[in-house]
Structures are given as structure tokens and as C-alpha cells.
Point group: C2
Chain length 266, copies 2
DNA sequence: GAGTGGTCTAGACCACAGT
DNA sequence: CTGTGGTCTAGACCACTCG
């Protein structure tokens, strides 16, 4: 990179907008516009600082923003370089379903099918690493929106408290909320596994779809700080209503890629 | 947080390990061990700096590491606080399939079924925003590992160069590589959509599974810097062989969560 | 040895919270 | 008002890379 390329851009030291932020935008723009190409070496930090008459630490703050965004990378002793867009490395985001549905302007309507205290059977004892017969809370529900069933959920919480189940707390029937309210230990870690599957007769009936229709199956296990499972749940989502979308690489406009990414339903 | 809690911990100024890193580990440990609880306010930066006899900027560097990791958050004028673990917000990662397969110690074996120049039909003109009849490159392949077919792929590249297709480049048959080698414009943005579906007769045959067996369908569109599509591909992955796994929240050991996360096959 | 990024310092001023 | 985090400076020394 030649400094003459950036000389058209300047930073306003008296602006309320931080200098490092302005500077980061200058470089970001140059990358997105093709003024700065993948692999190209940037002017050294010291020279940038001199050119803009700012401190090197401020330059570093600007560059580190872009390094965090994977637009740049630096190599000790060598320099800072423009990165290649990582087109094949994407992330699919998933919040809890109520939030995902709300984000799309619809009102999630969870309907509790059952809540009961159940003694662990084979599957539960395996999933929760507990002995068969241990008392668990068993929740089962369907989440709908616009009068259409979307998700069928089954959840188990290792249980010993004798706390009543309140109407209000069923407004957030996420596994983590249920575990925090009713479990013995506070969950601090979550494992999720996403599978493609097809609806069995029972699920098809609950979700108002045909048997063998494609579904996403998402299993979640919650662990306490000792890595012991405290809760397990399985959510079955209609394949015709849900999809994951993700963007990666560079986008010219200021990319709130977070907004365009995630678990969608249509 | 009381400073007496941290006084047992110290940082070694003469270590080769950066002070900010040592300090970050101190706080990280306190959070994971329950010594510091969600919502709790940290000692002010100035006090931490005084206590460890280091510069405030170094303290800030340490804290910003933990803020990046979502272990802390700060509020201007108020203080820095311990965050709650976000158990219901996960990310499923997906690299390109050859990397995913390699990462699991197996050798991906892509087999090209066809490569040809094709004039855009209805679907292609829709996906690539081009007129029907425009020349495209059409690739179709099956990726196997351990002599088992895993993924069936169909890809189209908007094409005008007359460049020969070399054996070597088929070693990386990812859409982005093909687009870079044969497309007219350099791709800088990628959109991926993940669906649950079932195998049709043709795919079932190619992947050696039953018709209607569950599959993941991943569509990828590549765009150039003008947001014009330059390539489109669809990968169909056997549902019995692939799953996504993701961890979130806190894990006591130094969490290389990246290693435990992503698109797995078993 | 010269160039580069990584770390660190000891100050400074600001905007914002809560009192 | 005081306390807090956010920004910024003008230096410094180091480890690394490369010719």
C-alpha cells in the first residue's frame, strides 16, 4: 500500500467519532472498493501514524478492529496484510426458538402438552448420566406461530427441588430457563447437535405434517460447572418452515451480517 | 469483586508470557471457578492496575480479551461486570467439505461425474441472475471417504474464459476455487442456505442410500464485489453421516471449543 | 542491522452513571 | 460532585524477519 492512496482520506481529530474508528473505516472502504487487494502489505504502523499525525497506539487499535473482522492479518516482523475473504468457512447461528421467531415479527405461542415428574428410563439415564429411576421433570410442548405448529419439543431436567411450576415461567420454556428454575445445579455449558431426519408418526401428527416429512432435529444438553448433565432436550423443527442462512466474506455496505444470518423460517 | 480475592494471584512481569495474558487468565479462572459470579461488578480498572502495579492500559487489554470472549461486559460510567453464559445462542461452523473430512482424519475422494459447458436453463438463470442461454460451466461430483459416497454436488459457474480444465484443480472442487479459476469476476461474498430434505431417486442412487432418506441440502451462492452472482452450487449430504455439533457457554478447561464444534460425520 | 509488529508505561482528557 | 470506562499520546523496549 502506498500512502498516496490514503492521502485523500483524512481523520477528524475533533469529531465525536473516535479516531481509531474513522481510520478503520478508511481501510475497510479501501479493501471493499478494491483499492487494497488480498495479500497486499499495508504501510507500516509507524508510517500510518506519522501520516495521519496520530499515535501509533491509535493506529494499532484501528487495525486490530479489522483483524478481528478478518479483513487483515499481521505477521510479527513482517507486516500487516489484507486477508483473503473466507468464502467456504461459514457459521450458522441459532438463538432459542422463541427469539428466532420473534425476530421475524411473529409471536411464538408455546403450548404445553405435559409436565410431569418421571423416573428416568433408558434413554434419559443415558443422556443425563444418571441412574435409571432417578426423578426428572419431563416437559413436552409445541411451539406455534400464526396458528401453525412449527416445533415439537421434549425436555428433561434432573430434579429434586419441590418447587411449583408457575404459569409465568412457561413463557420461556427454553431448556436453560427450565434448568435454572428447577434443576439442582446452575447450567454453564451447552452442547447442541443438529441432525437432518424425518418425522415419525407421532411428530407428524403434532406438527400437522406428513409422516416422513423432512425435519431438523436439534438436541441440547446442558452441563453444570462440573460437566455433569443437568438437562437434555430435543427439538424437532419442520423442514418446510425452517432453514439456516449465513453470509461470509466481504460485503460492500456496512455489513450487519448478524442480521442476515441465522435460523430462518418462511 | 474484592481485591483481596485476587491477591493470591500474581503476574510475573519478567515472564515471556505477556502481562495482559496472565491477568486475563487470572480473571478467567476466577469466573470458571465460581469465585466471580454472573452480574458481579469487577474492581475498577484503576484499582486493578494499582494492585498489580501495572499500567491501566495493560489492564484494559486483559479485560478486552475477556470481553471478546463474552466472559465480561462493560458499561460506560458504571463498571465492568461478569457476563451470563449464553447457553441458547450457538453457532454451527462449516468449512468446505474436503477440510471437514480431512479434519476427522479421513481422505476425501472427489469423483467428477461431469464437467461441461451448458447454456443456462430456468433454474440456473434464476439462481445466477443471468439470461437463459448464457454459457455456464456445469460441474457435478460425488465426494467419498473410505469408499463410501457422502456428498453429491452440483455447481454452476458463469463462464466466458476459454481456459482448459486441469486435473490438478479438481483436487479442490470447492465452488470458490472453481469460480476463481474459471469465472469472470473474483468472488468476495458467499451466501449459504442449509435445509433439511430427503433424497430423490437420482441422489439416493448416487449416494448409495434409500430414496427419501434424510439429507442436508446446502446451497451456496458466490457474489463478486458488485453483488452479482458468479457461481451457484448445491451440496447434498447424507443425513446418516453428517451432523453439526456446537458448544457454548463456559467450560472449565482451556476451551478449544473450535475443535469440538462444526460439521461432523461419523 | 534495519524494519516490523507486540507489549508496556505513565500520564491525560472526555462522556457518562449515580449521588 | 465523584467514579467509571473510552480514547489518546509520545515515548520505550522487545522479538522476530529478512537481506
Amino acid at each position: 500500500m502506498k500512502l498516496s492512496q490514503v492521502s485523500a482520506n483524512k481523520v477528524d481529530k475533533d469529531s465525536v467519532i473516535p479516531i481509531y474508528y474513522q481510520l478503520a473505516k478508511v481501510f475497510e472502504k479501501m479493501i471493499y472498493s478494491g483499492n487494497l487487494n488480498p495479500g497486499e502489505k499495508l504501510t507500516p504502523e509507524n508510517d500510518i501514524a506519522d501520516h495521519f499525525k496520530i499515535s501509533r497506539m491509535t493506529v494499532r487499535k484501528a487495525l486490530s478492529e479489522l483483524i478481528d473482522d478478518d479483513l487483515l492479518y499481521s505477521e510479527k516482523g513482517k507486516g500487516t496484510f489484507v486477508a483473503k475473504p473466507r468464502l467456504d468457512n461459514v457459521e450458522f447461528e441459532l438463538q432459542n426458538f422463541r427469539e428466532e421467531i420473534k425476530k421475524r415479527g411473529m409471536e411464538p405461542n408455546p403450548k404445553l402438552l405435559k409436565v410431569k415428574i418421571k423416573r428416568a428410563n433408558n434413554e434419559m439415564s443415558k443422556k443425563l448420566h444418571i441412574k435409571k429411576g432417578t426423578k426428572c421433570l419431563d416437559f413436552s410442548l409445541v411451539i406455534s406461530a400464526d396458528n401453525e405448529p412449527l416445533i415439537y419439543e421434549d425436555k428433561y431436567i434432573v430434579y429434586s427441588k419441590h418447587k411449583p411450576i408457575l404459569e409465568t415461567e412457561l413463557k420461556d420454556p427454553s431448556l436453560s430457563n427450565l434448568a435454572m428454575l428447577h434443576g439442582n445445579h446452575y447450567p454453564v455449558m451447552s452442547k447442541m447437535v443438529l441432525n437432518a431426519s424425518k418425522a415419525d408418526k407421532n411428530v407428524a401428527n403434532k406438527l400437522n405434517i406428513k409422516k416422513d416429512a423432512p425435519v431438523f432435529v436439534i438436541e441440547q444438553t446442558l452441563f453444570d460447572s462440573d460437566k455433569k448433565p443437568v438437562g437434555w432436550g430435543r427439538s424437532i423443527c419442520r423442514g418446510d418452515k425452517f432453514k439456516f442462512t449465513s453470509f461470509s466474506g466481504w460485503s460492500k455496505n456496512n455489513d450487519n451480517s448478524k442480521d442476515k444470518r441465522g435460523f430462518e423460517y418462511e
